[in-house]
């Protein structure tokens, strides 16, 4: 039983991490109808920026404090992501506004490739460390209930808390601020929003920047856990079934979907894996999403697709 709970918690934690990345997808899709295949590349790019800046700034500006380095690096990385968002909007999105979904998807794939190349050219392609002071030792809890206690990863716990915090911040942003309201309007109907004076271009830059911010947070968390390397953008592919499960237009959906996928993955690997010869993690999430979609084609919280004649 203890083992089951550990696996469950582990799955929940991993799920939160997936959600972090998925949130970026949902943000962009909600506001611009674009399925951003480049989200994974953005996570990697942001993480690279963070890692290298935190390494370079002490050298360039001659100070020792790791905390200062991290703070400055964070600010710099965020600035870089905003520039990236602006460039994407200016050079790609605004020119592709009226194209079909598949063209936009391909465009984001192109952007993903581009970001990968640029990131590794500017920042290098070794494995880099992000050290934001995440505790690496595991935590033993509930030693009285279960023999030996349950092993929880502190790092994952903090990541989960950060993800939850991010969701709360985003929720407040969307519900309470004027910009958030404008974003929701744009998500509903571009033309209507434009006709009441909402500046579409600026909104899109804001959305992609916010997605960039969540990519940065995700990048820091994942990078701190795994080290910043190319496979990070592959991890982001995992976020796709999360988004599909939760529904492309729902942030709570991204969280719930993430949790479901995370738990499902871990439990299936332990309990179903041996039957299949192991390694089923690479496809379990997708098959789970597929099965789910057969029952509910728009995902858990997504909007129903209506065909009008």
């Amino acid at each position: 039983m203890g083992f089951f709970l550990e696996t469950l918690f582990g799955g929940l934690m991993v799920g939160m991490l997936y959600s972090l990345i998925a949130i970026g997808f949902v943000l962009i899709y909600k506001a611009s109808g674009v399925f951003n295949f480049a989200q994974g590349a953005m996570v990697l790019f942001a993480a690279l920026a963070m890692a290298r800046f935190s390494e370079w700034f002490p050298l360039w500006f001659g100070f020792q404090s790791q905390i200062l380095a991290n703070i400055l690096a964070f600010i710099a990385a965020m600035a870089v992501m905003i520039v990236v968002a602006w460039l994407i909007e200016r050079l790609a999105l605004s020119k592709l506004v009226n194209q079909e979904g598949i063209t936009l998807l391909m465009a984001t794939l192109g952007i993903a490739y581009f970001l990968d190349g640029v990131g590794q050219t500017i920042f290098g392609n070794d494995i880099y460390k992000i050290d934001v002071g995440m505790p690496k030792e595991p935590l033993m809890v509930l030693q009285n209930t279960f023999q030996g206690g349950l092993l929880l990863s502190q790092e994952d716990l903090i990541a989960a808390l950060v993800a939850a915090g991010l969701v709360v911040v985003l929720a407040i942003f969307f519900q309470k601020t004027a910009t958030g309201r404008a974003l929701r309007a744009v998500a509903d109907d571009h033309q209507a929003a434009q006709s009441i004076g909402i500046p579409l271009k600026r909104i899109w830059v804001i959305v992609w920047s916010v997605a960039g911010f969540s990519a940065l947070v995700a990048g820091i968390i994942w990078g701190s856990k795994l080290g910043v390397q190319f496979s990070l953008s592959l991890v982001a592919l995992k976020a796709l079934p999360v988004v599909i499960l939760g529904g492309l237009t729902s942030i709570p959906g991204a969280i719930i979907g993430g949790l479901l996928i995370g738990v499902g993955e871990k439990l299936s690997e332990i309990y179903l894996g041996p039957m299949f010869g192991g390694g089923i993690e690479i496809w379990f999430a997708y098959v789970l999403a597929l099965v789910f979609l057969l029952v509910r084609p728009q995902g858990l919280f997504g909007e129903k697709i209506i065909d009008r004649v």
């Binding site: 465009a107 581009f114 190349g117 690479i282 979609l293 057969l294 084609p297 065909d307």
Partner: protein, 354 residues
């Protein structure tokens, strides 16, 4: 003034419905086929045939299959690599486990196995649409990645999923040298291109396009959505499966699941989009573009007179590739095929401006 339809009257529907109604086009295609079948094997270097033309042909075939699904029937599939893998491994099993199995039969049977899997993954497409379906096709991709690695039976108990074939021959005629491999692929591709073109200009092609353009109206005319979508998946996966088998048998000789990874799926999708959705010729254009581009990028520093490290070169390649994709999508979203037909329109008028 050379490219004109003047004086070319069609006096029968059959004449009007030919694949190449304009006489100059027919001549051009004849010349092209002559060059492809005769001039190339005799005149072109082995390196070009082995490393460029043969992969180009096989990938064109795969792009053709994908175009039927994406361009003509309007579905998105991100799991094409999976169907290629099924074709390749199935063909491998037929070839290796059954003594004296003819090569062509193995390849075609491999395609049929891909068809079965394709239809299976086509069934959800009736319920799931658009981007949701796209991600669902990724399930096929990752599942086959895993299956061919872990399920030993598929790979004749190879532990790493890698297999190899040797001694290919068709009724005694060996398929060993680059020229022989090239011609073998060329024959396959030509036949399949003809069959595909026939399909898309027949009733079933119109059904596919009707489903793509407006499926509710299609149902009202009496088109069965289920039949149309499943046949699109079936035909598409068959062609992609055969292409996969050709890729493994003829081009690679020995392969592992990574040869059909998600990168391959994206690559094929790029070919279809850049080449032109809903165009048989577009598939060839797209394949040529994607195959030649890395070569060009590799040679460019040399031509410009400076050299760069291989790591940097590959990063730059990725960057330029991504940028070109976006650029292309902005400038001509209907792909090279549209550019080509626009050029032909202008050629019709030349030397007059309009």
């Amino acid at each position: 003034m050379f490219y004109r339809e003047n004086g070319q009257f069609k006096s029968s529907y059959r004449a009007d419905q030919q694949i190449f109604p304009i006489a100059q086009d027919r001549l051009a295609i004849l010349v092209l086929l002559l060059v492809a079948f005769v001039v190339v094997p005799l005149g072109v270097s082995d390196y070009w045939m082995r490393a460029i033309l043969t992969p180009f042909l096989i990938l064109s075939l795969a792009a053709l299959g994908l175009n039927i699904l994406v361009g003509y029937c309007g579905q998105i599939s991100l799991g094409t690599g999976a169907f290629m893998a099924v074709g390749a491994y199935a063909a491998y099993n037929f070839q290796v486990r059954i003594d004296g199995m003819p090569l062509i039969a193995s390849l075609l049977l491999g395609g049929l196995c891909a068809t079965v899997i394709g239809v299976l993954f086509g069934i959800p497409s009736l319920r799931i649409k658009g981007l949701y379906l796209a991600v669902a096709t990724l399930a096929a991709q990752f599942f086959t990645d895993w299956a061919f690695l872990r399920i030993q039976w598929f790979t004749n108990n190879s532990s790493s999923g890698s297999v190899s074939v040797a001694g290919l021959n068709v009724f005694g005629v060996p398929i060993e040298s680059p020229a022989q491999k090239y011609l073998f692929c060329l024959i396959f591709v030509s036949v399949f291109a003809l069959l595909a073109k026939n399909l898309v200009r027949s009733a079933i092609g119109r059904e596919w396009m009707a489903m793509r353009d407006m499926d509710v109206a299609a149902a009202v005319i009496g088109i069965r959505p289920v039949y149309a979508e499943l046949t699109a998946f079936a035909v598409s996966s068959f062609i992609v499966g055969v292409a996969g088998a050709l890729w493994g048998f003829v081009h690679l000789g020995a392969w592992e699941p990574a040869a059909f990874s998600i990168d391959r799926s994206f690559q094929l999708l790029f070919m279809v989009i850049i080449g032109g959705l809903g165009s048989i010729m577009g598939s060839f254009f797209g394949a040529a573009f994607i195959v030649l581009l890395p070569l060009l990028l590799n040679q460019l520093p040399g031509w410009l007179g400076f050299s760069i490290s291989t790591a940097l070169a590959s990063h730059l390649e990725t960057m330029i590739f991504g940028a070109l994709i976006v650029f292309f999508l902005i400038v001509e979203p209907h792909g090279l095929a549209r550019l080509w037909s626009t050029a032909k329109e202008k050629l019709r008028l030349w030397p007059f401006p309009h």
